[in-house]
Amino acid sequence: MVIPKFERFLQPANYSSGVNAVSLMQKGVPSVVAEAYRLEQIQGKNLVHAVATALDSLDLFIFSGLSAAKDLSGGEFKQIYHFDAKAETIQYLEANYPELAPKTAVLQLGMFMTNTRAPSPLKPTKVGAPNNVSRVDKSDYMQATGWPASYPHALLS
């Protein structure tokens, strides 16, 4: 399943080994992680707006968040987008919905043990063997990650 918004990022030319967001952006290729960050910021605000409409009857809003990596590292780490998008959502809530803030609990979960099955350097690999694959097909990726085939993953075609 491919989410159409991401299709333009998934050209094979964008998958050669060793690419990163910075070098891609220098070449004029839009960054999929920066785009995901932008979407998560929008979704976060939408979520806060929706919760605020139920403020009167609301007991407790539990938000699955992460720490503000860019701010708390003094700007040293600027590309931990999946942390910052969530932290900015809560900063937005705090700044714009002072009555919702005291009813909000952010739950920061640790990393998933299942991450270690992914085809990344976190998965222990044999010395000398390729540490990763530049383009995995759907069945390999599913097998490697242990995700069910029905998992709606944006990056698989």
């Binding site: 990022f9 998958y15 080994s17 999929v32 931990i80 979960l109 640790g110 990344s120």
Partner: protein
């Protein structure tokens, strides 16, 4: 990995642990925020804080091959993650952030560790409120 072997890394079992933490938060009065300039309460939920030293020991104990940990630069590690462009650098920075600041943002992050504040799932007492709104 692009962080030291002693970097604390929190792990959960995603299929069961989130429900335990959510139930703990939703079933009792919550302590106030740790930081003075925020009204949002921040909680850290994890089953075990571990290090790659521990990991390597465990893998060596249970696998029939020799496993070792190698610390790399952010750039070297990022270049090996090629499934999606950009993800390598994002994750590599995250590991280094875990070493230098902490996954939960360190002291300035203001997150209370759920187990350390004694939050366990329980039923509200009669007349007890979930939140005391300041």
């Amino acid at each position: 990995m692009p962080c030291s072997a002693e970097t604390p890394v929190p792990f959960i079992d995603p299929n069961s642990d989130p429900a335990v933490f959510v139930k703990a938060l939703a079933s009792q009065p919550l302590p106030p925020p740790l930081l003075a300039d925020t009204k949002v309460r921040q909680f850290a939920g994890y089953a075990k804080m571990t290090t790659f030293t521990e990991w390597t020991e465990l893998l060596n104990k249970h696998l029939p091959v020799e496993v070792y940990f190698e610390e790399t630069s952010i750039e070297d590690w990022a270049s090996k993650v090629t499934v999606v462009p950009g993800v390598g650098l994002e994750l590599a920075e995250m590991w280094k952030y875990c070493e230098k600041v902490g996954y939960f943002g360190g002291e300035k992050g203001g997150a209370r560790i759920i187990t350390e504040v004694g939050l366990k799932s329980r039923v509200l007492r009669q007349g007890e409120r979930r939140l005391t709104v300041p």
